[in-house]
Amino acid sequence: MSIKLRLFLILALATGLVWLSAVLWIEGSTRAQVEKVLDARLAQSANMVSSLISDHRIEVGDAADKPATITMPASADYSRQLSCQIWSLRGDLVGASSGAPQSRLAGKEGFTTSLIDGENWRVYSVSNADLGVTVMVGDRVTMRDSLVYDVVAGLLWPALVILPLVGLLIWVSVGRGLAPLERLETALRVRSPVDLSPLPEGPAPREIRPVRRALNGLFAQLERVRRTERDFTAFAAHELKTPLAGLRMQAQIARQAKDDATRGKALAAIELSVDRTDRMVRQLLDLATVEGEDNAPEWVDLAALCSDLSMSLRQPADAFGAQLTCDVPAGSGIVTNRFLLFAALRNIAENAILASPQGGQVRLSVRQEGWNVVIRVTDEGPGIDPADLSRVTDRFYRGRATPFQGSGLGLAIVVAAAERMNGTLTFPTSDRGQAVEVTLPR
């Protein structure tokens, strides 16, 4: 449901309720007022008749079989509905107004309400002790109701005309009130999906300003992410196209070469290049997966992980004559995401192997430090140039004097994976070769 419709319904309902309670209140108070006035009138009329009889201006018959008829002026509707009876103390009807019911109106003195001929009557009785008669004056309750109804109806009819007008006013007002929101909505709707520029500054209601601020913050963040991704894609394209260029060049050389030695060298270069490109593609996929990985943490047995690691690195280890040894106490483990940990350690160990001299040792060890588990990989290679240390984890950054041609992605993957595991990557100083440590919370 739109905010506009919602606001309109709330306001219309509230206004309607206010109207309704006003009507009910007016109805109640009018009824009370009418009752009071008409009751006073009944009492007055009864007393007047009683005093008139006492003065003998009206003769009351003696016999019950011929009661006198008191003629009352028959002008207004209301007057005609006012009926009067005069009863002797013996119980005979000695006089009645024209149109009055034949049966006795009331049984006792004062105000009573009685049912006569199927109609409710309000009656006032007064006894005249001198003449031995009781004077009763009454009117119909339906007549009183219609009086109240007339008053209320007089109020309701204009309300029925005004209410739609009020509704229209509410609708227009709500629309005007929501105009800044609609302007914001339009500004967002008409911009192209690639437009991440901030929304224009300018006067805006207090309620809109935080929304605009939040949106601009989001836009800035998206823009940053998009720029990083664009840079990454451009880098990746460059990094993949260079080995492709090498492959093509070497393939053409192999075809054009006049001697077997040149051809053989070119074919070997092609193989090397294919291996390297394959590694780079795998690392690109690793990086994407590491960033999107959200499997639940599980118990990872570090000894088993390390033996899987040396299995998966057997080919480069054999090729470089390096050996990966696991120095992991049995039963040591950690609760973390297995894929992330494996990706991190694989890239560290692979770098170590590729940097190793012939017959070099790559050692993976585990120790506990307080609440942390530290996994350390050491090699016997030349180590990372201290000048490169600050940038070595940047994507596609290769050290200036790397002993092997890497993709520049390995340590970027490790950093991304370590961050996802709430861990850190450090390069502690080592007497010999390079040491790399991944510290993870237990």
């Binding site: 993949l240 260079t242 080995p243 260029a245 290049s273 041609q405």
Partner: protein, 222 residues
Amino acid sequence: MRLLVVEDDPVLSDGLCVGLGIAGFTTDPVTTLADARAALETGGFGGVVLDIMLPDGSGLDLLGELRGRGDRIPVLLLTARDRVRDRVTGLDAGADDYLGKPFDLDELSARLRAMLRRHEGRAAGLISWNGLSLDPAAQTGRFRDRHLHFSRREFAILYALIEHPGHIWSKSQLEERLYGWQEEVESNTVEVYIHHLRAKLGRDFIRTVRGLGYRLAEKTGT
């Protein structure tokens, strides 16, 4: 023609050197901007094949430095970034040509030849002197209606001489054009190639200037 190849990818760099060698160029590979600067200081290069993304900076910076100090050495940019905007940036920075990776070896050679030709102020692909016309693309020549084949190094010496007729080339200058740094220079090779060339073109086509080196004979009017 001797070229400086600035490319950090070892497979591609090796491919460029071997491939351009087959196409008749002599190449010296370097992998960083620093090495490229040092190599250009020593001189002797007819052109530069320059990658843009290098470990210690952008090839465009080196290009800017060269043009900034008025060096007109022909430069062909080689890069994976080959969108129109990148090409415009490269050419505006002073590059003579631009080739996106991956590229064809024959196209690269042809572009390099065209680039060097433009640099020398020639429009035609053939270069001729005194009845001899050379085709750098095919590394062949035509002399008095005879079709001649030359080895790579014979052609390089002949091309150098014809490029600057009248100029006296010392033996070491010619050696510099024949060999990259990594190649072992054999003694007397220049004399051997000159001997082969004289066998193909006649004794008097190339003159020996005693104590100085070699130059082409004056035009004979034919």
